[in-house]
Assembly symmetry: C2
DNA sequence: TAAAACCTTGTAGCTACTACAGAGTCAAGC
DNA sequence: GCTTGACTCTGTAGTAGCTACAAGGTTTTA
């Protein structure tokens, strides 16, 4: 009989914070585990594998929604995996697109940067002047500094 | 005497949604404008310029916090703009870093993708097997699919 | 037996908006 | 003068994926 892990132990084994494990359970990505008499969560090997799967997806920057989809495929071993391939292709597409966007951004930023050497007053700073121009074109992916690509 | 704009007109002029303009005011990026008798916001030319500045910063993927900082510099025209340059350099650094991360991600994803041609059952799908591995290394910037780099 | 380390639920916060609900205002047409 | 429709107001809740508490219960160790 395999040993059951308390949430802190599972966290330690997987490198996933305790709070995040509980969050995944709330979100339905992890099944509710057994409970001890004192109401502590007790995880088995399957939970550990599933959590590793989830974390691997997340480390590849997939959304929880994509991850959920992949877990569903994983739960039906006889199905064709065509859709798994399609999902991954789409995800790779997002990443490629985001790289292109950021590269364009980098060019714009470098150009802006070249407008001032830092020896001006802010009144004459080419950067601030550049930012004051009204030719603003908004990219689609705004606002969430922190990492994504979707 | 210049004409004053209602919020919808300002939105139209700047391409910034009405709700976002009100949000910037709440966040202290835009000064509260005059009000009409009926309590409608009335914006002058300075508001328009400031909003364009903000939107330009955002289009370059700067955070509102960075934008706030740049606005402060802009408000003190006699100061040196060394810090403006520093802020921009830092921001460019973030973008470069994020591009590197996403490129690494792209490599990993391509490798994973090559493990299956979609002709398997999910049980034998190389992609799902690859995702089941426990060698998970989490990048720093997780979770916000949508655009950032900080 | 007491303290420390762990666990529980529930809630609020983070970014930068976006999307309502429910009410008030204003201009044009009849 | 009245109605209709477009606009505006405030306030609140939702988005993604956690993270960080508070206030309490459990287990382990000294």
């Amino acid at each position: 009989m395999r040993s059951l892990l308390k949430i802190g132990e599972l966290a330690h084994h997987t490198g996933c914070p305790v709070e995040t494990i509980r969050y995944y359970e709330r979100e339905g990505l992890l099944d509710p585990p057994l409970r001890s008499r004192g109401n502590f969560r007790l995880y088995d090997q399957k939970h550990t594998e599933r959590l590793n799967f989830i974390r691997h997806c997340r480390s590849l920057d997939m959304t929880l929604s994509e991850t959920r989809t992949l877990l569903k495929f994983r739960d039906v071993p006889e199905d064709s995996c065509l859709e798994v391939n399609a999902l991954l292709d789409k995800h790779i597409g997002h990443v490629v697109e985001r790289i292109a966007e950021l590269s364009a951004l980098q060019n714009e930023l470098n150009e802006l940067r070249s407008k001032c050497g830092g020896v001006q007053t802010t009144r004459n700073c080419g950067i601030l002047q550049g930012l004051s121009g009204s030719d603003v074109s908004m990219p689609k992916n705004l606002g969430s500094h922190g990492g994504g690509c979707h």
